[in-house]
Symmetry: C2
Subunit: 318 residues, 2 copies
């Protein structure tokens, strides 16, 4: 155990749970101690716009302007454009809000002007008053494609249009072999004293980052701590529990999350909810330091409280 | 005088006055008797979107969904996206509404997919229930550039951002020499029994159409009737009166409008408002048949009434 008074953390995140956990950490750690590395496998084109749902959810959450009910999208949002797009016969299954459109219009324009996704995300974050580095995992497209008995579909079609109801038979990433992590992600991973997996979907939020060439090498010598996105056998939100069943043919549980990461020897520590405290001894047999605490993150105050407990815990692991 | 029971009219239009006059005609004439040929010199790119202000004003007016106060933009409009664009440091001087954005997003996407502006405009019109042909003058960019003592600027910068306050020293059209009228405009002009200039700005709405190669040749053997956009020495809206002063160093009046068209020998008939009836005899010395009537077009019922009087008048000219 090194004695590091100011450990640097690289947090992997995607989706609402990841964004909320990142927001807890961001309330406690100065920008130089926290980098948030975000999944871009969900990114897609819609209405001719470049959409990065996970980046936006993290950005809006840290800016304090996310819709607290949904966890994604913006406060005080309207849908007049969406209504008219439907009247024009355009697809309406992805509910882009009027305010939210400003982000996508700006991102699309800046990307067309030749900025990369990291630069665009930094500029958007600065404009919204976000102080912490929100780093897309890659500037290259690396799209999550879900395999179903009826064929392949891109992630947002599965997740939003089909409301994650199709049975999954597998996942693949389009562009993975040509995609690179960014210099900023590389630097953050090299500088990090600890890698933290936020309570995000292991298969479609954390794995896309881990799949990128070089990431496993860069983190293999670092302590990695994950927090379970499964509480009491259920996902707070989204298809994580269903994916354990369909992809791994195993019951969804905090233990199955830990085992999924740990079969690759990734983890040093694991954080579970009080609801799952009966799993603690089983988790220690996986070689893990275990923290049992509240892991529900409904609001910024709770996010900060949970982050404080987790930072105490991980300070013994770096 | 030919005896044509169902004369075909090609109406040249641009801006709110033009759109309102076109809407009067469209309420009386079936689609096979009316083609509306619209200025695209105002078109520009904004927020990465392809904007065609005059096409949209005509389309929204004919669809019955234009904002009746402004004459442009949509009913029941919001500006949440605009607010957020400003927060992101994007320009906010062109007030795109949330509903209106759907039109621009769709146009931009369809143009990128390879449709031309005529096809895009037809599809948008069909989706909004417009039955009459709204024809962009060209599928090629032909942009109005205004010359001022401080330098050049594109039309929307002059018109909207600078609220047409800079002094004009001249006009030019970027792309004019490479731009062509569309096959649909050519066909409409060939088929027309009468050409009608709506009460639009002669310099920046009607001239861009007339400037396109072939237009003057196609209309020279046809009767042309214009309605004055200047009433009582003033423009109902916009810089037309100011332009007579700055570009022609002449007083703005219905007579100066007629003289401006007639020095090119364009007109057979001219329509003026009751307010200008003292100009009637002076106008006849220009060789014009003159109709004096109400020419204010605030609402669809009035637009239809004025159009009926004008159609009676022009039926004697074809």
């Amino acid at each position: 155990m090194k004695n590091i008074s100011q450990p640097k953390i690289a947090a992997f995140a995607g989706g609402v749970g990841g964004a909320r956990m990142a927001n807890g950490l961001a309330q406690l750690l100065p920008p130089e101690q926290l980098s948030i590395i975000v999944n871009t496998g969900d990114d897609f084109e819609y209405w001719g716009l470049s959409i990065s749902p996970d980046l936006d959810t993290v950005m809006y959450t840290l800016a304090g302007i996310a819709n607290p009910q949904t966890g994604w999208g913006l406060l005080d949002e309207g849908h007049r454009c969406l209504e008219n797009m439907r009247s024009l016969g355009q697809p309406g299954w992805f509910g882009l809000g009027d305010r939210d459109l400003a982000t996508h219009l700006t991102r699309t324009q800046w990307l067309r002007e030749g900025k990369n996704l990291t630069q665009v995300t930094r500029s958007l974050g600065e404009a919204l008053g976000v102080n912490h580095a929100i780093l897309p995992m890659s500037n290259d497209p690396c799209r999550t494609i879900v395999l179903t008995p009826a064929g392949e579909m891109d992630f947002q079609t599965y997740f939003v249009r089909e409301q994650w109801q199709p049975q999954l038979t597998g996942l693949r990433w389009e562009g993975l072999s040509e995609a690179h992590i960014t210099p900023e992600v590389r630097q953050a991973l090299i500088a990090a004293d600890l890698i933290f997996f936020c309570p995000s979907n292991p298969f479609v939020s954390i794995d896309p980052i881990l799949n990128l060439s070089g990431v496993l090498d860069l983190i293999k010598a670092k302590p990695v701590v994950a927090i379970s996105p499964i509480i009491g056998g259920k996902a707070i939100k989204g298809p994580a529990a269903k994916m354990f069943d369909e992809l791994l043919h195993t019951e969804a549980s905090a233990h199955s999350v830990a085992a999924y990461y740990q079969h690759r020897g990734l983890l040093k520590g694991f954080v579970i909810d009080h609801q799952d405290q009966d799993l603690e001894s089983k988790l220690t047999t996986l070689g893990l330091d275990v923290l049992v605490t509240n892991t529900l993150l409904p609001d910024p105050i709770t996010q900060k409280q949970v982050a404080r407990v987790i930072l105490d815990f991980v300070s013994h692991l770096v």
